[in-house]
Symmetry: none
Subunit: 195 residues, 4 copies
DNA sequence: CATGAATGAGAGTTCATTCAT
DNA sequence: GATGAATGAACTCTCATTCAT
């Protein structure tokens, strides 16, 4: 596949992402993507052979891009508490977005497709997030910002609460205030009240 | 619709429940249900006109049956802590069930169908559970079993954690131990360690 | 079939007539008739075995009733011209009726079903009408009301014009004035102007 | 849609015309057309989405072709009477054709579908024909071929008689002689006897 | 006689996928 | 590489017709 087609592949993935964002995973057909990309039916098959493959590559692309953007937004001299707050705000923004990112599609996809635990990209991401939060909490405990005698537990707890909020946002709905209340409760568990 | 057809309707709902349990919501066609029930194509349409209608009636049936079975299992003289533990164990059992109940189908359905918040049955159920847990915690606080200065917040927190565990069980997978760890963490927040 | 069932048969035919009147012939299903009659599916089959059979019996019933009603409305001492006008007015009323009698259903039925010419009930009716009109014209010519040297031809012509008006009413639409213009033109051919 | 598919579309329309001619409108299913064209089920849907759409395009095609073929057949130096006779012969041929053109299908379709009078293509065609005949009669009156003091009325009368003959041909049946008798009667009204 | 549940054939429609150009 | 017409499998849904009660 030459230089030119790599461009096209990226174009397709970017366009497909919008489609998945709007319609989830199962509702998306090859036809939908063909039409969104305004390419020929056969053309799409030159690059991808199923919505599943496209979706997985969209996810991969997302992860690669996503990683950077968060760490980029952290000020050099931020305290642990500040970074944690930033992280939570980011998550909140994400989960409240009306046309909500890929969350729905991701859930839908992984409902039906259970990659072996070890290679489950969702699990990897989850575990990575837990680790980051854990490190943050540990750092915060060390310099007296947080109180916590089970940092790993607290980190996991935060992540599960976030998962709970995320799925609730997609199913029963949730307000900005609703999210704040939960996050505050969690933070109070770390010994701090917040703005 | 006579006595007899009511029986049949129930039979269809019960059979359909298994189908939804196995395949989720979107993957289920009228044909699937027809075949599972071993009735004729047209026969199904005498009772239901879409998988959606069937699914919603399955849910209703589930809720009606579910309510009783839990309260039935509570001993007369149980303490608040005991009841809470019972409740959590029940939830754990539910969320670990391999062919996992209707969870997947429910999520899938409500991803695409957002009933107005007021009439969202999922929300109703969630709120009801929060209330129950809240009352339990309050009772526990009163007789010294729990320590907690925001019972409502704690109850909501527990429910969101449960939601997080539920969705995680469906997507990234989770072990019995993993669930226990989370529940223990939450309970410790109420001032108790557990068996 | 006993006394009672003859009543029921008549009831079905009367109800079915309304259905055919509203929906034509082809659009009517056994189900439609069953529902209109509010009887059971099987019940209908005890009396009739197809919409075709029902329709033909409806037509027979109509003809039997129709014959009397027209001749009843003619005054004893009417002149030929008066009777002819009466006849044309009757036809006009019929063909302008919005929910137009059985015309549509009749045409639809006979498009697909061509009984041998001799036994075609539609043809019988048409020929009978031609004859009546012819006799009227002859009578009118004799007593100087009309001028006409081919009474049979004129009668046939009138009937074909009426057919043309009837089908036009059903397809391209026609106004009361439109009908009047045609009828006047035809009457002028008989040497008379009219009110 | 490229050059090639335009060919195919025409092919489908031509084939479909035969189907409508044979079976009328309501009796024709997408499947019938698919089979007549010997194409795939899905293939037909690439071009048309319903029998109605196909039918209307068949009609349009017919009208476009029909217009030319008649005017082409008129000799340069024909008199008004000659042209009128030609026109009537054409109509006669049309209405006697055993597998009778689209007449039946057209009637069937317009029984159920009443486009607003202004845009009813059937009405347009009817009105256009009336106008043509009227002009012919006027021309004939001017040069002494016809006698007539209400050319418009006579033209309309001729067209309604033709409609009457057309519907009669489809329902009660009519012979070549039968048609001749009617047309002669009408022509005699214009002051001429004919071959 | 009457009921109405049940059956199964058949029409409509959509898409993943292929393939000649 | 790219196109888009074509195919056919799979679903949905509706009724005529039957039959046990």
């Amino acid at each position: 596949m030459g230089e030119k087609s790599i461009q096209k592949k990226k174009y397709i993935l970017k366009t497909a992402k919008d489609v998945f964002t709007e319609k989830g995973f199962k509702n998306v057909t090859m036809k939908d993507i063909v039409e969104a990309c305004d390419i020929s039916r056969g053309g799409l098959y030159l690059y991808f052979e199923s919505t599943e493959q496209i979706f997985l590559e969209v996810l991969k692309m997302e992860n690669e891009e996503g990683e950077d953007s968060f760490s980029d937004s952290i000020p050099e001299d931020a305290t642990a508490a500040e970074i944690l707050l930033l992280f939570l705000k980011e998550q909140k923004k994400e989960l409240l977005r009306k046309k909500n990112s890929l969350t729905k599609a991701v859930y839908e996809y992984f409902f039906d497709n259970h990659p072996p635990r070890k290679s489950n990209p969702l699990k990897k991401q989850f575990d990575a997030s837990v680790l980051i939060v854990e490190k943050l909490i540990e750092a915060g405990v060390e310099n007296g910002e947080f109180v916590c005698d089970d940092c790993a537990g607290a980190a996991r707890n935060i992540m599960y609460v976030l998962e709970g909020l995320k799925i609730s946002a997609q199913t029963i709905g949730i307000t900005s205030d609703g999210v704040d209340k939960e996050l505050l409760f969690v933070l109070r568990g770390l010994g701090i009240g917040t703005d």
